[in-house]
């Protein structure tokens, strides 16, 4: 594992968590226009993201999600309310200095066409005055991290890259100065679905080590469910419709709007959050030969699809070494929707506090 911080001497989980910051929106409102013509882009938005968590702002176009994101690095100034980074209002310090501490990834990437890939990645280190040598080492390190070979990529210009490669460079650039917070505005929306899925998977894998606090904007509920530790569903008028963990929002939409937005297939979407490994299994019957087999990382949604397609009531769950571990049935998968704690009763709704527990962070209170 390459060391990531500018504080290259420090290693391990302690330094990593110290590099993430908690984020809190407190009654944040943005209005455009005056008097009669004033209209709200964002309306009294309040939520907390603990350090190291990915929070996804999701909603239809015009719901104010991008406006909310841009208020964090002060590209847009709120009309009312406060945004706190590690408990400190973002309005207290110098705006340029704030932005250099926050990673920023946007849909069109915004790479500088006149700079090489290496210099694009090292833009913020250059702004804050790192030596040329340190910039170069850091750029190479980050290019490797996002899966681009530095020797073949560092001297290319952006016009020589594919869409997916540009997005990787965009992510590397945002990580360059090891920011405690990353803002990502539809970062994977401009690439085709196959590339998008690969970028999402790789980013989640990266995030396991980086443990950055991330505010992520998308209009795609499936992407929100996949990427988010926490999801803030926003509706028109810039209001927060619901805030919670993905499973909670799928299991208990707080309003008709949220239910419609997450879709009629929200049950199936919940199954995509759970893998075979999480499922209680029945013993394997002797007659199980010839039935479909599933690896431990198979999502329940995919397993169900396979079982239905094969017209089979059950299949065999394998462990990591490919040995049979238990018997999976359609009924067992169906019951997972009610069993995993959010099932049937209205009281079963998890609170935001329980949601925070999932990501084990301390910076959330302020």
């Amino acid at each position: 594992m390459s060391s990531l911080g500018p504080a290259a001497g420090e290693t391990g989980a302690a330094s990593r968590t110290s590099r993430a910051a908690s984020l809190e929106f407190r009654g944040v409102t943005k209005r455009y226009g005056h008097g009669e013509q004033a209209h709200g882009a964002v309306n009294d938005l309040s939520f907390e993201v603990p350090a190291g968590a990915i929070c996804v702002l999701v909603g239809p176009s015009g719901c104010g999600k991008t406006t909310s994101l841009k208020m964090v690095n002060r590209l847009i100034e709120p009309t009312a309310g406060e945004i706190l980074l590690d408990g400190v209002s973002i309005l207290t310090g110098d705006v340029t200095e704030l932005r250099r501490r926050i990673g920023y990834v946007i849909q069109q990437v915004g790479l500088f066409p006149h700079l090489t890939v290496g210099r694009n990645v090292a833009v913020v280190p250059a702004l804050v005055g790192w030596s040329k040598e340190r910039q170069r080492v850091r750029a190479d390190e980050l290019l490797s991290l996002v899966g681009l070979d530095p020797t073949s990529y560092r001297d290319r210009y952006p016009y020589q890259l594919s869409g997916g490669e540009r997005q990787r460079v965009g992510v590397a650039r945002a990580l360059a100065a090891d920011p405690p917070l990353m803002l990502m505005d539809e970062p994977f929306a401009a690439v085709d679905p196959i590339v998008r899925e690969r970028l999402q998977d790789e980013f989640l894998r990266l995030q396991k080590d980086l443990a950055k606090t991330i505010l992520f904007v998308t209009h795609d509920i499936d992407e929100a469910i996949k990427m988010g530790d926490l999801i803030a569903v926003m509706e028109e008028g810039g209001r927060l419709a619901q805030f919670g963990q993905p499973d909670e929002i799928l299991a208990h939409p707080a309003s008709d709007f949220v239910a419609r937005f997450v879709g009629a297939d929200r049950g199936l979407k919940r199954l995509s959050l759970v893998t075979i490994a999480d499922l209680k299994l029945e013993p394997v019957a002797a007659s199980a030969r010839g039935l479909p087999e599933f690896g431990p990382s198979t999502k329940l949604r995919d397993a169900l699809s396979v079982l239905l397609a094969a017209d089979s009531r059950g299949g065999v769950a394998l462990d990591g070494e490919g040995r049979p571990r238990g018997f999976v049935t359609v009924d067992a998968i169906a019951s997972a929707l009610s069993e995993d704690g959010h099932g049937i009763t209205a009281e079963g709704q998890t609170s935001a506090a329980e949601g925070d527990a999932k990501v084990t962070a301390e910076g959330g209170d302020s």
Partner: protein, 231 residues
């Protein structure tokens, strides 16, 4: 003129020294005009970008200057500033504005919004954004305007010959040849002037390639008549 060759090479050989001096003067007069015109135009463009409401007025003034017939303006200025370099340069500079200003403004307008958004979001100050992002990205259209203005000005310098024998660059030979019905002089003056324009144009193309290794081929191949459309 009957029986006279189109170009009398013996005259050419006998006058190589003076011709070289006139080429030098031509470059000098055009160079000053393009240089001063560029600096003033850049300031006008900068003001227009900062204050969009002023842009139409700047354009009206630049276009207005361009509508004044050069012949009339040179003659009028002789009455004020005499047959001097200043009389030659004032019109030449005025005529560059309409070639420079719209293209410089278009060059800055052509900087993609996502690039500016990224620059702001990553913490460039206003000045850093201007010098390190916007200016380099405006280079293709700025250089295109330099090509336009230099070619146009090199042609126009010949007209300054009407200010007197001490001016005009290669235009001196065109006017002198006209008065003396001497084709050789007219052709030498005209062809060398064209040659200078072509060399200047190629020089700026080369400069652009050196300054913009980052541009895709499509962008490098911008032709003057495509300048306005290329964004």
């Amino acid at each position: 003129m009957n029986g006279e060759p189109l170009i009398r090479w013996d005259w050419l050989v006998a006058h190589l020294g003076p011709i070289a001096d006139r080429v030098g003067q031509h470059i000098y007069l055009a160079g000053i005009a393009v240089g001063i015109g560029f600096v003033i135009s850049f300031a006008l463009a900068a003001i227009s970008i900062r204050r969009r409401k002023l842009y139409p007025f700047v354009i009206v003034l630049a276009t207005g200057a361009y509508t004044i017939p050069s012949f009339a303006l040179f003659v009028a200025l002789v009455a004020i500033t005499g047959p001097s370099v200043i009389s030659a340069e004032i019109p030449l500079v005025l005529y560059t504005f309409i070639l420079f200003v719209p293209n410089i403004v278009a060059g800055f307008d052509a900087v993609p919004l996502d690039v500016l958004d990224a620059a702001d979001g990553m913490g460039y100050t206003r000045g850093q954004r201007l010098w390190r992002v916007e200016l380099p990205l405006a280079v293709p259209l700025v250089v295109a305007s330099l090509r336009l203005a230099s070619v146009s000005t090199i042609g126009l310098v010949t007209v300054t010959a009407i200010l007197g024998d001490s001016l005009g660059g290669l235009g001196y030979y065109i006017l002198d040849g006209y008065h003396r019905h001497f084709t050789t002089e007219i052709l030498i003056g005209g062809l060398l002037s064209i040659g200078l324009a072509v060399i200047a144009d190629l020089g700026f193309v080369l400069l652009q390639r050196l300054l913009t290794p980052w541009a895709a081929r499509r962008a490098i191949g911008v032709r003057n008549n495509e300048v306005a459309r290329w964004t």
